[in-house]
């Protein structure tokens, strides 16, 4: 700011030519500037996020079948229905198991990849791109590849072909839930899609760790390898790890695409969003019950996020480093 104030002093001749002139407009009204930059985003947020949430809240107290403008008030009936619905409650359980597994696995895999790529002397950019590339693939496209070619149940599916060399019978990966092979399909698809992105975050964090720390540790007698990793690298990555875990949890909560595309007409392996889609918003068209379920889910997500922030200290900034 101080530099622009100084620029006001020169005479009008230089001011005319000065490219800094338009900045005066911005500086003139910080409030206007604030709204100008945040406005479009806030409008979008209000229209596409807050309005639907409020509408959901309203809908959840009505019997809204085949309409989003209902008139029959039913109080908490929809909440009671959703909370006593085995499928919905079961889906919350499914999600918990899924999140408990996928979050640490993705975290570990992307950290592992980051450490490997970071140690590379040559071709680093190549490997970084190769591992990052799947992030650009759509979940739907990846699901179809996993479903139709890799984990197809017929004898010419990739996995079944490989197993066939060892004389193993064909496995209907996605169709037969005993044993639950479908988890293998879902987890591998998700790992492939997500790890690259978090790997990039870890690489950035790794490059931010000052070299002096390692040098000091070496002088103090820390062995390179496990010891250095455990006492230097990992603590230095704490802020990034926390962010990654939070992002992974959010991603797990949002799980929809690959479940929806990989599993059809099942009553298992449905995260809450898929369950809500099928039971309420899809074919049954029960918007009241669906909204009630969505709000229950929203409350749960808020609670978990706050709890996680409290435990892991996300957003506390530098002190957590």
């Amino acid at each position: 700011m101080s530099t622009t104030t100084k620029l006001d002093v020169p005479d009008s001749a230089t001011a005319k030519a000065s490219p800094a002139k338009p900045r005066r407009g911005l500086r003139g009204s910080p409030t206007l500037t604030f709204w100008l930059f945040t406005g479009p985003f806030l409008i979008g947020l209000a229209i596409f996020v807050y309005a639907p949430i409020l509408w959901s809240l309203w809908l959840s107290f009505f019997e809204a079948r085949f309409t989003v403008t209902p008139d029959k008030f039913v109080g908490f009936d929809n909440y009671v229905y959703m909370l006593t619905n085995e499928d919905f409650v079961g889906s919350l359980g499914t999600f918990t198991v899924f999140a408990a597994f996928i979050v640490p696995t993705t975290w570990a895999l992307s950290l592992g990849l980051a450490l490997l790529v970071n140690r590379l002397r040559f071709m680093r950019a190549f490997f970084r791109s190769v591992f990052f590339l799947p992030t650009a693939v759509s979940y739907v496209a990846a699901s179809l590849i996993w479903k139709m070619s890799i984990f197809s149940g017929v004898r010419f599916g990739l996995m079944n072909t490989v197993l066939g060399w060892f004389g193993v019978e064909n496995i209907a990966w996605l169709i037969d839930p005993n044993p639950p092979w479908y988890w293998l399909v879902i987890v591998t698809a998700r790992l492939w899609l997500q790890s690259g992105f978090y790997m990039i975050l870890f690489i950035a964090a790794l490059q931010n760790i000052p070299e002096e720390l390692y040098e000091a540790a070496a002088i103090d007698g820390a062995k390179s390898g496990w010891q250095t990793f455990w006492y230097i690298t990992l603590p230095q990555l704490r802020a990034t790890s926390t962010a990654v875990i939070l992002l992974l949890l959010v991603a797990a909560y949002q799980a929809f695409d690959e479940f929806f595309n990989l599993l059809s007409k099942t009553t298992w392996g449905r995260p809450p969003l898929v369950e809500l889609y099928y039971k309420a918003l899809g074919e049954s068209q029960d918007y009241g019950a669906g909204s009630a379920g969505a709000l229950i889910l929203t409350v749960l997500i808020c609670a978990v996020t706050l709890l996680q922030g409290k435990i892991m200290g996300f957003g506390r900034g530098d002190e957590s480093k």
Partner: protein, 421 residues
């Protein structure tokens, strides 16, 4: 300020303007994409929604008929995704809903005022329609849809494979299970009924001697026969004789045509494609009886045209439905027999459909007449889903069929209570 205001179009201002425009444009776009044509011709614009038929030429045919209509511009939305129901149901809630659409008769659409009464269209030619098709579209004396095609669904089998394995055409579910076992070899699975088995849900109920709902619209599928059928299906599912995880669903004859299975559950529409692929090496048979008291059954599915009662152009849409699906006999015959095979619901057109009078097509028509069951308009999509869950729970997963049916009862009763009080 005054000096620079002449040349206001520097980067920042341009950016500002662009952002403002983008914001306004984005909001305007919310109401802009109606999927309708440019409105180039005269008269009203209508939108119709169809699910994607698998046969080549179907989309072009529907668009060709629409183009031939002079009184309105009819645009077609051709929905290629698997969940046509969900797409349609959610579209119907919006302002961009189609004015007319194809679907199956389901009472909740009548009760919630989503489909228009088409009695005045159908009444004059009522006697020319298959009476079962009229009945399945009637609620309280009013007719709510115009049937376009009837689609009987049954098993297709490879004659040569059955002969080689010395297997007779099955007449009971037990025989079907035995046949599946005998027909399964290294590369060929005995039987394919779809990956999720939901295409045989209805026939299992009928072949067990039960029905979905009774005359009083109460649950009628929860019988000992159905429980027995579900147990047998579970044995079949775990036998290793079923084709599972195939790339195409059972409505598509590809698995059968490519020799992945010896027997496949599919529909009459697939006959031309199967004839092309396999010549005369195939036959058809109904879903065999499950219990001694049961009877073989065929699901007479099909598609009907409905008019969106909340459309702004109800009358124009009705006019179009009348023009195409009541008056244009030539197009109706073309639609029923030129791509996939379907049975025309109009007796007069069915009588002229020579392609359905010989060979396996004639056999299909015979099964349709002899063993066919039509949709019960009281059996809604939500109930359909609830019964699909029974198959998922007790056939694919190992839940006790009684328990799975009890859960289905709860869901179906909730729907019934809302529909019929």
């Amino acid at each position: 300020m005054s000096a620079s205001s002449n040349m206001n179009w520097d980067r920042r201002n341009v950016l500002r303007a662009a952002m403002g425009l983008a914001a306004v444009g984005g909001l305007a776009a919310c109401g802009g994409n109606t999927g309708r044509g440019g409105g180039s011709g005269s008269g009203t614009n209508l939108t119709q929604m169809f699910h994607a038929y698998g046969e080549a030429g179907t989309e072009q045919a529907i668009k060709r008929y629409a183009k031939a209509y002079k009184d309105a511009n009819v645009t077609t939305q051709w929905i290629t995704s698997n969940d046509f129901e969900s797409k349609l149901f959610s579209a119907l809630l919006t302002k961009n809903a189609p004015d007319l659409f194809e679907f199956h008769p389901q009472i909740q659409m009548v009760k919630s005022g989503q489909v228009a009464d088409l009695t005045d269209l159908v009444e004059p030619v009522k006697d020319d329609f298959n009476p079962a098709d009229i009945k399945s579209h009637t609620v309280d004396g009013k007719i709510y849809g115009v049937r376009m095609i009837d689609d009987p669904q049954f098993f297709f089998y490879r004659k040569s494979m059955l002969e080689k394995a010395k297997v007779e055409v099955p007449t009971t579910l037990d025989e079907l299970m035995e046949a599946a076992a005998k027909l399964t070899t290294g590369k060929v699975k005995g039987l394919y009924m779809g990956n999720d088995l939901h295409s045989v849900n209805d026939t299992l109920i009928w072949s067990s001697g039960a029905q979905h709902l009774d005359e009083k619209n109460e649950i009628a599928y929860h019988t000992d026969g159905v429980v027995e059928g579900l147990k047998k299906m579970r044995r079949l599912f775990t036998s290793g004789d079923l084709l599972l995880g195939a790339p195409t669903e059972s409505w598509d004859p590809s698995s059968f045509n490519q020799g992945l299975c010896a027997i496949q559950f599919c529909g009459m529409w697939a006959m031309p494609a199967i004839q092309d692929a396999l010549g005369d090496d195939w036959g058809v048979f109904p879903f065999p009886k499950v219990t001694d008291s049961g009877k073989p059954s065929v699901y007479n599915g099909g598609w009907s045209m409905f008019v969106n009662a909340k459309s702004k152009n109800v009358d124009a849409a009705k006019e179009y439905v009348k023009w195409l699906w009541i008056d244009q006999a030539e197009y109706q015959e073309d639609w029923a027999t030129s791509y996939g095979f379907h049975i025309p619901p109009r007796t007069s057109i069915a009588a002229k459909a020579d392609k359905l009078k010989s060979g396996n097509a004639a056999e299909g028509v015979k099964l349709f007449n002899e063993f066919g069951h039509f949709d019960n308009i009281g059996w809604t999509q939500a109930m359909r889903t609830a019964f699909e869950d029974v198959f998922a729970n007790s056939v694919r997963k190992n839940m006790d069929p009684e328990k799975a049916l009890d859960r289905c009862d709860t869901a179906v009763n909730r729907e019934l209570k809302k529909l019929f009080g």
